[in-house]
């Protein structure tokens, strides 16, 4: 377990920035209430076995007691580095992305299941969408009752969506909460 180096930090933060815009500071400067310490610490990013974790500082201190080889996981895993050095977000990042998301898409109840099986979001399944979405931005997908379902990358801007036919892809699938079942062993 080690803190991210500069290069890795920029890669991770850029990824998060896609989803959160200026709300990124809420993630970085989020005070933690874990542990018995009187003054709340911050959350920080830690790299462990190619995976990036979002951990409170108090937890990091305690984790130092465990040998690196024996440490399986700590805090929230938000993604992992590939062999090429790319960073991929995983489903667990949804917990920190959802409250800070700038761009949101709400799905109709009928198309929720389709998304949870790993399909893209089609225009026909769109219940609601925030304006000012540009293609390439990160979008968090919600159900109509505001339950976060996953996230992805916008394929079309909100304006273009109007003219799109119902089968056009609006959001490209990246992760959804169905993965907790489908890819249980990988996570």
């Amino acid at each position: 377990m080690r803190p991210l180096d500069e290069k890795e930090t920029t890669v991770v933060l850029e990824k998060l920035l896609k989803f959160t815009d200026n709300n990124l500071q809420n993630i970085v400067y989020n005070p933690s209430h874990e542990g018995p310490d009187p003054n709340p610490g911050r959350y920080c990013f830690r790299l462990h076995k190619n995976k990036v974790y979002y951990v409170s500082e108090s937890l990091v201190k305690r984790a130092t007691n465990v040998a690196r080889a024996n440490l399986v996981s700590l805090g929230t895993c938000i993604g992992k580095f590939t062999h090429h050095g790319n960073f991929h977000l995983t489903v667990q990042a949804l917990t920190i992305l959802a409250p800070n998301a700038k761009h949101k898409v709400w799905l109709k109840p009928t198309s929720e299941m389709s998304f949870l099986y790993g399909n893209h979001v089609l225009k026909g399944g769109l219940g609601r969408i925030t304006d000012a979405i540009a293609p390439g931005k990160g979008v968090v997908v919600f159900s109509m009752s505001d339950v976060p379902l996953g996230f992805g990358i916008a394929a079309k801007s909100a304006q273009d969506c109007r003219k799109l036919d119902p089968n056009g892809i609006v959001v490209l699938h990246q992760a959804d909460i169905g993965e907790y079942l489908r890819k249980e062993e990988e996570l």
Binding site: N23, N26, N30, H33, T95, I96, A98, P99, N100, K102, K104, W106, K123, L126, G127, R128, I129, T130, D131, A132, F142, M144, D146, S157, A158, Q159, C161, R162, K163
Partner: protein, 846 residues
């Protein structure tokens, strides 16, 4: 008679038939008459041949076609003149005076007074030309003709005269010999009498024109002459009476002057008469308009001229020269003068409303002109000028005409294909049928074309085209204004605060522009919409950004304007979203912040309540965080402001709570947090973003305070809301919109004034009954208004007292004065001898 003579005036002397002198017959009667009145023939010798030839050539120059013929004529004429001169030399001796043969063939004997009586109609100026004319005829009569020949000639000449009627009128107008006469009259009469005379003359002319416009059409010229008077009052009167005349006699169609070809064609008498009438009317109308536009630039005449122009445009928008009228009206639509501006605006509005009068063409022109002027003035014009757009009306389906056409086309194509598929099989059988069909189709087309030409109902496609043109011009203007406002905002932070003190003055057109956008939002093309929303977003946020940056600087846009931006954005979105439900996050954030910036005195409460209604009540669903944030903020807001605002806010709040069941956690007594409030565990009241405020973690303690509100309606509503439980999902019947609530309360503020004691008892009773809000609204009161009333009463009492004291003082001083004078009087009485006058004066004083 008079008229006929007038017509003759311009006749070029006709070619005399080549007749030898010997063949000329002179009747015995003539000879006798001439012998009797020798002195009358004197004028023959004094004939001004030069002026005659001049006259002839001038007329001849007009017609180029007949130029050659005219040259020939002139040559012959010269010959003739020589003959005449010889004649006169010879004949004057024995033939002294000649009678005039009038058109009916009667002989008229000339007397000395004749020329003046001939011009009885008041066109005294015609005397000279009339004289000429008579000379001409006289000259002609020297060469005596048989009656038949003469008549034929006269007819011919009359035709020519009519053709050149218009030409003539102008030349007549130029001569204005009348002015000379008028000047003479002036010398004789005092100014007042002249004024009266002129007025009378105006009235006479006007009445004559109205009574029989066709025969009196020529007196329009006189009218115009009168309008050039030096006296301002006369000019004004003349303009106004001419306006009345024109309004009455202008026909319901546009006059098209006949082309040269048409002029050459032979037409019946009536048509000629009509043509003459129309051309005269048109030319004088033109002159009138020119005069008006000239006077419009003079300050003293401006109002009258504008009034005339506006009335004309309103009454006869279909008639010729509409463009110039429109030009003047639109130019003055943003004039700083209130009266003029209002006139012009109302005219344009009525122009927009009564499109049937002019078939929509004037609308397009007017809108284009306004757009042009807005561009020229760099968007610094009077807001009224844009507000007129609001009275425009468009067809509902104007936005999608092309789609329908395309569909039709597609169908047609399909049909054709089908036909072409079917045809080969039954080719031979169908050939005959087809030829028949083609024939009938042709016929039908022709009939349709004719019908269209004749029909009064406007062509649908044409109208649609016009409307879309109008619409594009309107939106062009709107977008220009928006862009301008944005640019000025961008430049604003650098500008000194003193410049921005003008407040809304810097964007005078923005408010009506936003209003218009809201009204026509359903007509905006989707392609524009992204741009528009973007602009609105920046406008809505622009003010706050600049405020943050410069601190001291006033917001460049007022809160109302920014709220209006939000409202417009929502309206645009709502009317255009058929398939897609777009969440305008940015605008919610703006509203969230603007609620705090609202100040009851400065900003319009109506706009705020409208924003609340449009954005919060009408929207179908919100996410929980946002709804909770708004609920919390509205509750806070309703604590701070007057009853009207807080009522509106509470109504909205209730609405939100009804829709979002989860938000009712706010009503629970323990501060939430944990899983309910999401990741944000604490309420941040100063957070700018509604989603991050963590309002779910807070408690709506404001409601408890509000239930003790002095206003019974509010306290009732507050307690009503707080009794809403998480479990049951009942729907409340009395659901009034925030706007309605606001207006109810703000109206009440003005009217209500019961004493507080009674008010309280009322409240108790009402609560006991548990009636609806509206019922309690009727009887409830307001301490602020009561305070005011009390204050007023106290003040009035105070002033009454003061006045009483003053009156007392006055009375007392009078009393003293009287008593002193009485004493003096007594003293004087004692000294009776000396004075008798003084006591009297004293008595008077007493």
């Amino acid at each position: 008679m008079v008229k006929k003579q007038k017509q003759k005036i311009i006749l070029p002397p006709d070619l005399p038939p080549d007749i030898n002198e010997d063949e000329i017959e002179v009747s015995d009667e003539d000879l006798q008459f001439v012998n009797e009145n020798r002195e009358y023939a004197g004028f023959v010798s004094r004939l001004d041949t030069k002026s005659i030839t001049k006259h002839v050539t001038r007329v001849a120059d007009v017609k180029e076609d007949a130029l050659e013929a005219l040259y020939e004529k002139r040559l012959k004429k010269k010959l003739l003149q020589r003959e005449q001169e010889e004649d006169s030399k010879l004949q004057v001796d024995h033939v002294e005076a000649l009678p005039i043969k009038t058109l009916d063939g009667q002989l008229k004997y000339r007397t000395v007074t004749k020329p003046s009586t001939a011009s009885e109609s008041g066109v005294t100026g015609e005397r000279e030309t009339g004289g000429d004319d008579e000379d001409d005829t006289a000259g002609k009569s020297i060469v005596k003709l048989t009656k038949a020949e003469k008549r034929a000639k006269l007819k011919k000449s009359r035709k020519e005269a009519k053709k050149q009627g218009k030409e003539l009128d102008e030349s007549e107008a130029e001569q204005t010999p009348q002015a000379v006469v008028l000047a003479e009259v002036k010398e004789d009469l005092t100014a007042e009498e002249a004024f009266e005379n002129k007025k009378r003359k105006l009235a006479e002319l006007g009445i004559a024109l109205l009574a029989d416009p066709e025969s009196n059409i020529k007196s329009l010229k006189e009218f115009l002459q009168l309008c050039k008077d030096n006296d301002h009052a006369i000019v004004k009167l003349g303009l106004l009476s001419l306006l009345a005349v024109f309004k009455d006699i202008i026909p319901g169609y546009r006059i098209r002057l006949p082309t040269e070809k048409e002029q050459e064609m032979k037409v019946s008498k009536d048509v000629k008469k009509m043509r003459f009438y129309e051309s005269t009317l048109l030319s004088s109308y033109k002159a009138y308009l020119q005069r008006l536009t000239a006077l419009e630039k003079q300050l003293s005449f401006q109002q009258v001229a504008i009034r005339c122009i506006c009335t004309l445009l309103d009454a006869v928008p279909h008639f010729n020269f509409r463009e110039s009228l429109l030009g003047v009206v639109v130019r003055n639509i943003g004039s700083p003068d209130d009266v003029i501006r209002r006139l012009c605006c109302s005219t344009i509005k009525s122009l927009f409303k009564n499109e049937g009068k002019h078939g929509g063409e004037a609308t397009v022109e007017a809108v284009r002109l306004i757009a042009h002027y807005v561009k020229d003035h760099n968007c610094q014009w009077h807001p009224d000028s844009i507000e007129v757009f609001l009275s425009l009306s468009f067809d509902e389906d104007i936005s999608r005409p092309e789609k329908a056409d395309e569909k039709n086309k597609g169908k047609n194509k399909k049909n054709k294909k089908r036909k072409s598929v079917e045809e080969p099989s039954q080719l031979q059988d169908n050939r005959r049928k087809r030829s028949k069909q083609e024939l009938t189709e042709k016929m039908r087309e022709e009939v349709n074309a004719d019908y269209k030409a004749v029909a009064f109902t406007p062509n649908v496609a044409e109208q649609r085209r016009k409307q879309s043109e109008t619409l594009s011009a309107v939106f062009e203007t709107y977008f220009r204004i928006l862009k301008h406002a944005l640019q000025s905002i961008a430049a604003r932070p650098e500008v000194d605060a003193s410049l921005s003190a003008g407040g809304s003055g810097s964007h005078p057109l923005l408010a009506p522009c936003l209003k218009g956008l809201g009204k026509f939002s359903h007509l905006i093309d989707i392609d524009f919409m992204g741009n528009l929303i973007d602009h609105l977003k920046r406008l809505a946020s622009g003010g706050s950004i600049s405020e943050n940056n410069s601190g001291k600087c006033l917001t460049s846009l007022t809160v109302s304007e920014r709220l209006q931006c939000c409202i417009v954005a929502f309206k645009v979105m709502r009317t255009n979203l058929d398939a897609l439900n777009v969440d305008l996050q940015q605008f919610f954030v703006q509203l969230y912040n603007l609620i705090l910036e609202y100040r009851p005195g400065r900003d319009q409460g109506e706009v705020l309540t409208e924003a609340l209604k449009v954005m919060l009540c009408d929207d179908r669903q919100h996410d929980m965080q946002k709804a909770a944030a708004f609920v919390k903020r509205l509750a806070t807001f309703s604590l701070c402001f007057g009853s009207a605002e807080s009522m509106a806010a509470l109504v909205t709040l209730k609405h939100l709570l009804q829709k979002n069941i989860k938000c009712r956690n706010l009503l629970e007594n323990d501060a939430g947090g944990g899983s309910v409030s999401g990741s944000i565990a604490k309420y941040h009241p100063y957070e700018k973003d509604s989603n991050l405020s963590g309002a779910l973690a807070s408690v709506l303690w404001e409601l408890n305070l509000l239930s003790k509100h002095y206003h019974p309606a509010i306290s009732l509503l507050a307690s009503n809301i707080s009794s809403m439980s998480v479990a049951n999902n009942q729907v409340y019947l009395s659901n009034i919109s925030p706007i309605q609530a606001f207006t109810d309360m703000s109206l009440e503020r003005e009217t209500f004034d019961p004493p507080s004691g009674i008010n309280k008892s009322n409240n108790k009773r009402k609560r006991g009954i548990g009636s609806s809000i509206s019922a309690s609204v009727e009887t409830s009161g307001e301490t602020s208004s009561i305070d005011e009333d009390e204050l007023r009463k106290k003040l009035s009492a105070h002033f009454m007292l003061l006045r009483d004291i003053k009156e007392n003082k006055k009375l007392r001083s009078e009393l003293e004065h009287v008593t002193s004078s009485l004493q003096q009087h007594k003293e004087y009485k004692q000294q009776k001898r000396k004075t008798t006058q003084r006591p009297k004066s004293k008595k008077k004083l007493v």
